[in-house]
Symmetry: C2
Subunit: 331 residues, 2 copies
DNA sequence: GTGAAAGCGCTAACAC
DNA sequence: GTGTTAGCGCTTTCAC
């Protein structure tokens, strides 16, 4: 259907090898040949077929990013960072959404196995450490945002424990002592790490940890609603809530208002991530910022290095977080 | 590096053709051969190289979706719908973000030209009608969400004019007569169409159109802020604002509160899209719902039909919208 | 500076 | 039911 390298060669009166050389910027071509080839390319509207090229070169210059959901601006920003860096190196990023299901994730990983892509970045995964380690032996993969304990796989993430520690410390410094924690039921390592940070901040301030101030479920929005219902029903209502995600924090804020509890005054709420919505909300939401662009750039930089290198970098890279105080903590 | 079909054939003691037959579910293979092949596949951890397959078959079963931004849950939902339908037919969806720039979009379109993908869905585009028509002659492309006037290209979108008409009529039925319009400077056809719907709704109710109640800029969040500043400064402040997107509506709401104007009471605000945030906001946001999943499914259904068909369907398909009243209009 | 030709991994027509 | 083989479009070695 469309023109091939042969057509161009015939049109230009040269061999396919010469066309290929022009295409790939090889300098060993006479000016005359080159211009004839370029004319032919234009005339035939030729565009090289990458399937042929990639098959021959055993590479695609495409990296797949698998993310749990399409609707999380945290992930969107990370992908933007990935894209920005990748394009500098001639790579493209494509994305797929796993909906947090192992089957979808496995299906999408086929693109790696069948050589449709050169590498994969997982923004959260259902694979366990063993599986990841095995995969990493034969393929180039990386984790971003959410690490897996025991996985010796290239990882880029914030220091969740330290981020949570700083957030809770900021609440303590504002005079709070009854600080609730809203996390998940241990399925996400980030939540567990943030819970540890919460506990350490309390400990350092000499505030005893109280199990009744902890609510664990999942990252779903409605869990924030349930959590606020629970906190509001406690004998002594907490004066502050630290949630492991902005979405949960927003749900808490929303529910608090419905219950007639004024956020930023009667109760302070702090999230994690610094998604775009934090500044749009009323009140604006205090949070711990993850440097999404930087994370995306870094993970791609390291992954592409791995793709081109025999010995794999399987380090765990930590990027800096930042506590941001807004109206939801009375600022 | 990884095993090829030849390795499997050798291991199983059959020819590559037989392996290929097993791989493709061709029934003309003896049970004995098939099981030997399957054993070999498992033993060698073989996964077919799709570059070879695709090159041979002149197809990739991958569709590219180019969207203006990664951070819009409207697009995210449409992609989810696309993905859902595509996977049923053995297709994968990959995404790329153009940031509303012609250069990025053109760069990404190369994946279509170089045969990395079988088709493209554009969620908004910088191409003009002529270019699109030319492209559509040689490639399978579709528009979704945002049509281009004069483009005879497969398109799926809501009826923007009618959606806006219904939204503004709903405001009128709640007693509003001073209804402002917040749109864009004609770069997006959807905004222009929605402005027409706004005007027609006023006309039908016998309310004269007043240019000073119209503010046009872009889809950016801060334009909503500017718009609210403008509306608040009018001699007679409008009692309602209809914005062409939820994001703009949310910006208006946010700014109104900062100005001490109570939304849902002093002023009603209505958006368009029904993004997830509408239900999370305080107050919740009234809007016109676009059936994102359905749009995604439909555009993929039709595009894949086109891919497999000689004569192209270049219809403009309209999907149903729905007005949803929430707290921002006092409901 | 240029061309001939092998071969990347796969599918499918053809022969048996 | 199975094997042989051509060839998809491209890059790259090797000769000249």
């Amino acid at each position: 259907m469309s023109a091939t390298i042969k057509d161009v060669a015939r049109e230009a009166g040269v061999s396919v090898a010469t066309v290929s050389r022009v295409l790939n910027g090889n300098c060993n071509v006479s000016e005359d040949s080159a211009s004839r080839v370029n004319d032919a390319i234009k005339k035939l509207h030729y565009s090289p077929n990458f399937l042929g090229r990639n098959l021959r070169k055993c590479e695609t210059n495409v990296i797949l990013c698998i993310m749990p959901t399409s609707e999380h601006s945290l992930y969107s920003k990370i992908v933007t960072g990935m894209q920005r860096y990748a394009s500098k190196l001639g790579y493209d990023i494509i994305t797929a959404f796993s909906d947090n299901t192992a089957t979808a994730e496995a299906r999408q990983m086929n693109m790696l196995f069948n050589r449709t892509v050169d590498g994969v970045v997982l923004l959260g995964t259902m694979y366990d450490a063993d599986s990841l380690n095995k995969l990493a032996q034969n393929y180039d993969i990386a984790l971003c945002c959410e690490g897996v304990p025991g996985a010796d796989v290239l990882t880029v993430a914030v220091d969740d424990e330290s981020g949570a520690f700083d957030a809770v410390t900021a609440l303590i410094e504002k005079g709070h002592r009854d600080i609730a924690f809203l996390g998940t039921k241990s399925e996400a390592i980030s939540s567990t790490a943030r819970e540890n940070g919460y506990k350490k901040a309390l400990e350092k301030a000499g505030i005893p940890f109280r199990e009744e101030l902890v609510y664990r479920d999942s990252y779903e929005y409605n869990c924030g609603t349930d959590a606020m219902n629970y906190f509001a029903g406690l004998e002594k209502r907490p004066s502050a809530v630290f949630a492991v995600s902005d979405l949960l924090a927003i749900a808490v804020i929303h529910r608090a208002y419905e219950l007639g509890i004024e956020v930023g005054k009667d109760i302070s709420v702090m999230g994690f991530d610094n998604i775009t919505m934090c500044e749009m909300m009323l009140p604006t939401v205090s949070t711990v910022e993850q440097p999404c662009f930087k994370m995306g750039e870094l993970v791609i930089e390291k992954l592409i290095e791995n793709i081109h290198s025999a010995k794999k970098d399987n380090n765990y890279y930590t990027v800096d977080h930042k506590v941001i105080m807004r109206q939801s903590t009375g600022d």
